[in-house]
């Protein structure tokens, strides 16, 4: 079994083990073991990957494997990873692992909860290792559907509504994606040769420019909906607000990253002409998302809504970085994907921790929590500081790269876009500090005088996340280096087409 397929096989085995385990303790332990294995595998993958690169392997994708699946349509199970996907896999494994810790206390249908979580994770892993559009699409949908059950069964508030809305909107997006994929597929023989779903085979072909212009928006929007592109982001606040903590973490931390990754790897890579043609249009939407998400976050009262809008804003930066069409901005966008993944997961984890104690997420109803649960409060502040781009944390590195990349365009249009995007940072500071000020500082609300301390599993989960946030912030070049190594083919294809 090759090193990548294991990422799909191990979750399946974990599911089987879960089905046969009895009692909540066994379920927890089995799920935890499964995810620890996956985390170790992802570390090993990074190690192997770096080893491979150090050994002089300069293929675009390493650890590739290609098995014919549906021969009549030339559909392959084709996998491989580059630096970007390796880091995304690491992100996924870490967040799922911490998610398990945070949802240690799930007691309603725990087995089903963990199974859904695992199916979701395996979909995400599969997505990141896929090189074949068909395989990728399959895994994408596998990742989306468990969300319905996860939010619907274990969520809170208007969970049925939120779950339905999220699923329908994301599936609607995948409908667009499908049209785009078929459009690419049937143009993949433009230079003669067979029809193919393989991204790198397609990339060798010059898809007719008209077809690129037609199908790029399908692929872009299809991926961008899950990346919360304005105005298709509305599933995200409701979905996040209703989802249980681990699911919010996983969803905002990982699932929403499929969007940016897909746009970069598929939409822009196979259709560079389309990307250049549409870049400015989507850039406007992205910057609206950035600014608008931040402003909308200020006024929210529910912690999860604040964070959901913040995600809209920060993922808008990812899209913006991608559309800026240069190396630094791309690097920034990928770093932002990573960094936002960790940060937002930490955020949602802390919201879960606070909510688990106060049973409210309304900011105005809480005050002075720092006195009662100092560790949780401090972690919340760390998440906030990282989110608003304080140097030393990951957010700063990522956003800095995006803005530096953005400023390389000297024309007025890009300047205006960039300035708007940069100014959103200020707004970010406002909504973060506002919450910190209202909720953590000041006199403690009387009914919250005696909240239980943060427990070991919550600590474990959140400390891991903080560790990674700091690691990216302090060693940006290590992470950036892995990404930069893999951006070469993109530059070659997209910028010099």
């Amino acid at each position: 079994m090759d090193i990548l397929t294991l990422f799909v096989v191990i979750p399946v085995l974990t599911v089987v083990a879960l089905v046969f385990s009895k009692g909540i303790k066994q379920h927890r332990v089995v799920a935890l073991i499964g995810f620890i294995i996956q985390t170790l595998m992802s570390f090993n993958l990074i190690y192997q990957y770096l080893h491979e690169r150090a050994a002089g392997n300069h293929d675009v994708m390493v650890f590739t494997k290609d098995v014919m699946w549906f021969a009549p349509m030339n559909i392959h199970y084709a996998i491989g990873v580059d630096g970007i996907s390796v880091l995304m896999i690491l992100l996924t494994s870490i967040i799922v692992l911490t998610g398990i810790f945070i949802s240690w206390k799930v007691d309603d249908l725990p087995k089903e909860f963990f199974i859904s979580l695992i199916v979701l994770a395996s979909g995400v892993y599969g997505f990141f290792i896929s090189v074949d559009l068909f395989t990728m699409f399959v895994f994408y949908e596998i990742a989306v559907i468990p969300m319905y059950l996860l939010i619907g069964i274990w969520g809170s508030g208007p969970r049925e509504y939120a779950a339905m809305k999220l699923t329908i909107m994301l599936m609607g997006a995948s409908a667009l994606l499908l049209v785009g994929i078929l459009g690419v597929y049937f143009n993949s023989n433009a230079d003669g040769g067979a029809l193919t779903f393989n991204i790198f085979e397609i990339a060798k072909v010059n898809i007719p420019v008209d077809a690129q212009k037609l199908f790029f928006p399908f692929l872009f929007i299809g991926f961008a909906v899950i990346g919360a592109l304005f105005p298709f982001h509305t599933w995200s606040p409701d979905g996040h607000a209703s989802a249980p903590t681990a699911v919010s973490m996983l969803h905002a931390g990982v699932l929403m990253k499929l969007g940016g990754y897909g746009i970069f790897r598929v939409a822009m890579y196979v259709m560079p002409a389309g990307a250049h043609y549409w870049a400015n249009f989507f850039m406007v939407l992205a910057v609206i998302g950035v600014f608008y998400g931040a402003l909308a976050a200020i006024k929210q009262k529910d912690l999860k809504y604040i964070n959901a809008y913040s995600s809209v804003s920060h993922l808008g930066l990812v899209l913006l970085g991608l559309l800026m069409m240069n190396e630094i901005a791309w690097k920034g966008a990928m770093l932002q994907s990573l960094s936002h993944g960790f940060i937002t997961a930490l955020f949602f984890a802390m919201i879960g921790v606070i909510y688990g104690r106060t049973h409210t997420r309304i900011v105005t109803k809480m005050s002075g929590l720092l006195n009662v649960i100092p560790v949780a409060g401090a972690l919340y502040v760390i998440a906030g500081m990282a989110n608003l781009g304080l140097p030393g944390f990951s957010g700063f590195v990522a956003e800095m790269n995006i803005f530096v990349g953005a400023f390389q365009h000297a024309d007025t249009f890009h300047r205006v876009i960039t300035i708007l995007a940069v100014s959103s940072i200020v707004v970010t500071a406002v909504y973060i500090l506002r919450v910190v000020g209202m909720m953590l500082m000041g006199p403690t609300t009387p009914e919250f005088k005696n909240l239980p301390k943060i427990s070991w599993y919550e600590k474990t989960g959140t400390y891991i996340l903080v560790l990674f946030i700091v690691l990216i912030g302090v060693f940006p070049f290590w992470w950036g280096g892995i990404i930069t190594d893999s951006i070469g083919p993109f530059i070659e294809k997209i910028l010099t087409f």
């Binding site: 559907i145 619907g152 409908a175 499908l178 078929l182 049937f186």
Partner: protein, 476 residues
């Protein structure tokens, strides 16, 4: 014509023999022993299904009226498996106390007789043969629809079906007479190239099409579907929704692609339009159904729209994907109907709201239901996804991107109502849920086969490869 060439219709012969055996068995067993008839029927049918997988020669019989080849026999095998599953699942309903086991034998005899009709239908290469076998397949089903003599709805369903079918047959025959007038023959192969673009031939084509569209439940020929599915006993609705529909789709495909290839510019826009109409109408009606059988009826209407989309390409890919999709669809729908039927038999509940909290009392059944519905909705890694994806591919191969787009929009709508059922069964809790009950072994075997197939047909690609290999569009 010697005995050897008669073996070309092995499926039909064995099935006829089986029906005859059952007639005798039905007389032999009386009273409480009647129950055993059903076991014998299922056992014999299972044996027959296995035998039918033996390789078969290709050739024609009766002066070219009857043809069999690998594609046709493979499709017959698929139908066999479908009927076997329906039979397996129907036993728990047949042994239900209210039916008093009086007519257990009849049920299977009629079921198999109808299947026999289907087999002749898909093998026929002559319009008269086509008509006769269509009637042979329809009449037993109308009797089956009215099978539950204690239920007024069942009788209503029977009457509605036979009346609608009569109108449909009338128009169908009228169309055939036009075609004869235009082409001077009733043989498919003679008609190739001799139909011509006359008003007569076009009208004939459309009337003929309407007759088959009635079986497939394309809008606007679908109105009987919901009422009959709702009223008829659930195994019969199940049969109507999968076997009857698949056979009609198959023969429609052959006639359109071969006989009417000349008129491709006529029937392509018709298929295009009806496909969109069928998807939308089916989905819009399904959205607000409370009764699960009506719900599945409209869902199956919408599915027919997708099949039409796949047929548009009119090439090898289209035939292969449509057959593949129908095979998957058979399993998905049998799964969904099977669960509903079990629940209806055990608790009498049939509304979506009754399913609130279903997972917490009957997790396995709820899972089967969910997987079947997800397969219908086209969610990977369940087979339905692959079927749908290939249909899109087939349509997109001829550049029908707009239609594909409309179809995926419809898939999203359909996902909504499939999720409504999942919502009831999984998300909600109820003070008065469907109580836990144990299923008999046959039902369990049936549902397990369904679930395994739902995963296998999609993920295990050699099945598709096989279908693709037996399809030879020039040779249909």
């Amino acid at each position: 014509m010697d005995l050897n060439s008669l073996m070309l219709m092995r499926h039909e012969l064995i099935l006829t023999l089986l029906i005859l055996i059952l007639l005798i068995v039905d007389i032999v067993f009386t009273g409480e022993n009647k129950k055993k008839v059903s076991y014998i029927a299922v056992a014999l049918f299972a044996l027959y299904t296995l035998i039918s997988f033996l390789p078969l020669k290709e050739g024609t019989l009766f002066g070219g009226m009857f043809e069999t080849n690998k594609m046709i026999s493979s499709f017959k095998n698929i139908l066999n498996i479908g009927v076997l599953l329906i039979s397996l699942l129907s036993i728990n309903w047949l042994h239900n106390k209210t039916l008093k086991h009086q007519k257990v034998g009849e049920f299977f005899i009629l079921l198999f007789a109808s299947l026999l009709g289907m087999f002749f239908l898909i093998s026929s290469r002559n319009f008269l043969m086509l008509y006769v076998s269509l009637e042979l397949s329809t009449l037993p089903v109308t009797a089956l629809a009215a099978y539950d003599i204690y239920s007024r709805k069942s009788s209503e369903a029977g009457i509605k079906l036979i009346l609608s079918a009569a109108i449909s047959s009338g128009i169908f025959l009228f169309g055939i007479s036009f075609i004869y007038a235009a082409g001077g023959s009733l043989y498919f192969h003679d008609l190739v190239g001799s139909i011509g673009h006359s008003y007569l031939s076009i009208a004939g084509l459309i009337m003929f099409f309407a007759g088959l569209a009635f079986k497939i439940s394309l809008v606007p020929f679908h109105f009987w579907t919901a009422d009959v599915y709702e009223g008829a006993p659930t195994p019969v609705s199940n049969y109507l929704s999968v076997i009857s529909k698949s056979a009609a789709v198959f023969i429609l495909m052959i006639t359109l692609f071969v006989t009417f290839r000349e008129l491709i510019d006529i029937w392509t826009p018709i298929l295009y339009g009806l496909s969109i109409l069928t998807m939308f109408i089916g989905n819009f009606f399904a959205l607000r159904q409370q009764n699960l059988k009506r719900f599945l009826a409209f869902s199956s209407v919408a599915q027919a729209g997708f099949v039409m989309m796949g047929m548009l390409a009119a090439n090898q890919l289209a035939v292969a994907t449509v057959i593949y999709f129908m095979a998957i669809y058979i399993f998905s729908n049998i799964g969904a109907f099977g669960v509903i039927q079990v629940v209806e038999t055990k608790s009498g509940k049939l509304n979506i709201d009754d399913y609130n909290g279903f997972y917490r009392t009957n997790p396995n059944l709820a899972l089967v239901l969910m997987l079947s519905l997800f397969s219908l909705a086209g969610i990977p890694p369940i087979a339905g996804f692959f079927g749908k994806f290939f249909l899109y591919t087939s349509a997109a191969s001829k550049g029908y991107y707009l239609l594909v787009f409309i179809a995926v929009v419809n898939v999203t709508i359909s996902l909504y109502y499939y999720l409504l059922v999942v919502r009831a069964a999984f998300l909600r809790t109820s003070d008065n849920p469907i109580p836990y009950f144990k299923n008999d072994a046959l039902t369990r075997i049936g549902l397990i086969i369904v679930v395994v197939s739902l995963f296998l047909i999609g993920l295990y690609s050699p099945l598709y490869d096989y279908i693709n290999s037996v399809v030879n569009v020039l040779n249909i």
